[in-house]
């Protein structure tokens, strides 16, 4: 046996080097990356502050609050479900923390823990109701969205006599909890909010779970074909409930960042944000029908949001234009996603 050039292992001779386009097409986040690059370049050229450190700190912060939620919502959407209560949950968790700390004088850390337990319970209830009834999650979580909205306003007014809870600064543990959730760090003399780190961390963890673990494999499977997954032994109900709880956890994180940064919370906060999360996830390559998408993509979707929203401010335009931009962006993303899916699902008989 002569030693000639060893064939690379596992490479099939029928596979020519995959075309770059074909390789890219299986990455769900590729459209979002291109979009983000375009938006970045556009505002960098059109405005002066956008590319500065101060500008970056602003749009990164905007993107981070949205991004934490968008990533969690993306996992849920890949798992085949929606959560319309996600936006209001960010207010509910902040309200629970604030009411416990200001009205009952609870230590902020303890208040945060109770509020986390509350969030996880609501998430579990959402998931359990969806799985138990077999109804679309869209309608079930629309119900919990309205219920939470009512609770937020009703309870707040009942306890404080207004629709706002403030006075967090005087509570015990505000400083130390604030350090974890709402402090800033310096880069080049510019302070950045710590929420940006939370966003990056959450994205990295979510993405690792999704692509590199058993549970991640199950998320794709239950979103793509729940019955088939059940037939091969995937715990569909438990996995979906866990995903609802993940979204609720993210809402708790964002709510905690909010309350500790601004020290007060409006009872009607968060309404309408749930659609922004879904839009960011879709821009990031998630299919509305589940089974396909990316956590990194959703984070990039949120980045596009943040850059466009702040870029429009820097450019001195009316913020009305943001909605137009959003609509066009969403349509473009859905069209691209649809094309990608058809490529992936193309059946040869």
């Amino acid at each position: 046996m002569t030693v000639t050039a060893k064939a690379p292992p596992a490479a099939d001779e029928r596979l020519s080097k995959p075309r770059l386009l074909d390789q890219l097409v299986v990455r769900p986040e590729i459209g979002a990356m291109l979009g983000a690059l375009l938006v970045f370049l556009f505002f960098s050229v059109v405005t002066e502050q956008f590319l500065s450190l101060g500008g970056a700190a602003t749009w990164l912060d905007d993107a981070s609050m949205l991004g934490i939620m968008a990533v969690a919502v993306a996992l849920l959407m890949i798992g085949g479900e929606f959560d319309l209560s996600a936006g209001v949950m960010t207010a509910s968790t902040a309200l629970v923390t604030a009411l416990l700390a200001t009205q009952l004088g609870l230590n902020v850390w303890l208040a945060l823990l109770v509020s986390l337990a509350f969030a996880l319970a609501v998430g579990a209830l959402n998931g359990w109701l969806v799985m138990r009834t077999g109804l679309p999650s869209f309608i079930v979580t629309l119900g919990s969205f309205l219920a939470l909205q009512g609770l937020n306003l009703g309870v707040t007014r009942l306890v404080t006599g207004s629709v706002q809870v403030s006075g967090m600064r005087e509570t015990v543990g505000y400083e130390s909890a604030g350090f974890l959730f709402a402090s800033t760090f310096q880069i080049g003399g510019q302070s950045f909010y710590v929420s940006i780190i939370w966003w990056v961390l959450f994205t990295v963890i979510a993405s690792t779970v999704l692509v590199r673990t058993k549970f991640g494999n199950w998320i794709f499977a239950i979103g793509g074909a729940a019955q088939s997954s059940r037939a091969v032994g995937v715990p569909v109900v438990r996995s979906k409930i866990l995903l609802f709880m993940t979204t609720a956890f993210a809402a708790w994180l964002v709510g905690s960042i909010n309350i500790l940064r601004y020290a007060s919370v409006q009872a009607n906060q968060g309404i309408g944000l749930e659609f922004q999360y879904i839009i960011a996830a879709v821009i990031g390559g998630c299919l509305l029908t589940g089974g396909f998408g990316s956590a990194v993509g959703a984070a990039i979707g949120a980045l596009i949001f943040g850059m466009a929203r702040q870029g429009i401010v820097y450019a001195g335009w009316n913020s009305d234009w943001f909605q137009l931009f959003l609509g066009v962006m969403l349509l473009a993303a859905v069209l691209v996603n649809n094309m990608l899916r058809r490529r992936a699902e193309r059946v040869k008989r």
Partner: protein, 256 residues
């Protein structure tokens, strides 16, 4: 030798609807038991009981001699009974190897997916069954219907199934593809698995089957060993003998 599966006078009702009543059959290792019947004959109900999706409410169900009642598909799987459903065999948007290992993923010692091992084993297991795929990273949705069934069959064989239940594996396929799938059914049988083949096409059942259970309106119309019946009689029993000649051409070539 005890049979892998033995059902005796088994029955199932959904409310006031009697979906299945008084049906008996056996599945032995290295043999194919075919369940034939038209739509609504109770084929699906029977296999759903065997697969652990539903529970029977009459009769006895024995696995390797032991009376049993599964509460979930997972439990059936743990007893070595794997089911491949017609439309539900795979998740189309996921890659071949991720589908292959779905529910039994290989992990490294840190708990992460062992993707390299997953790809290699998938490729090997598929080629052992004679399925030669170019790329196990491609989405299953890009495979043909027959290839998808084959991936699902190879998966069941690899994970040590003793009994393989195939729900209409050839229903949506062209003649040639159906032949390919039946070849893998025969291969699984020759490896010593007990196979339950559900079909409404006697021309697909006869060449590979050892035993034929005919169902009609939830009841057993007859149960035959291969030696007791020929394909003409089988077809006549099933369809009433009318449009048989029109069907006859369909499977002549699959006997291999």
């Amino acid at each position: 030798m005890t049979s892998l599966i033995e059902v005796e006078n088994i029955g199932k009702t959904y409310g006031s609807v009697i979906a299945l009543s008084d049906v008996s059959t056996v599945v032995n290792a290295g043999e194919v038991t075919c369940v034939l019947g038209d739509n609504g004959a109770g084929k699906s109900t029977l296999i759903k009981i065997l697969a652990g999706v539903h529970q029977h409410d009459q009769g006895t169900f024995r696995v390797e001699g032991e009376e049993i009642r599964f509460s979930s598909p997972r439990e059936a799987l743990d007893h070595g009974i794997a089911t491949v459903y017609q439309d539900l065999a795979v998740v189309p948007l996921m890659s071949v190897w991720r589908n292959f290992f779905l529910g039994s993923e290989p992990t490294t010692k840190f708990g992460f997916l062992d993707r390299r091992k997953g790809r290699e084993i998938t490729k090997k297991a598929l080629s052992d069954m004679g399925i030669d795929l170019r790329d196990v990273e491609q989405p299953v949705g890009t495979l043909s219907g027959g290839e998808r069934q084959c991936v699902a069959i190879a998966r069941a064989v690899y994970f040590g199934a003793k009994v393989l239940i195939l729900d209409e594996p050839t229903a949506a396929l062209g003649v040639k593809q159906a032949g390919v799938v039946l070849k893998y059914v025969a291969q699984a049988r020759d490896r010593g698995l007990g196979v339950v083949l559900i079909t409404h096409n006697p021309h697909h059942a006869y060449p590979v089957g050892n035993r034929f259970l005919l169902l009609k309106r939830g009841r057993a119309l007859g149960s035959y060993e291969k030696s007791e019946i020929d394909i003409g009689e089988l077809t006549k029993q099933m369809a009433g003998g009318a449009e048989l000649e029109a069907l006859a051409h369909e499977l002549r070539g699959v006997e291999a």
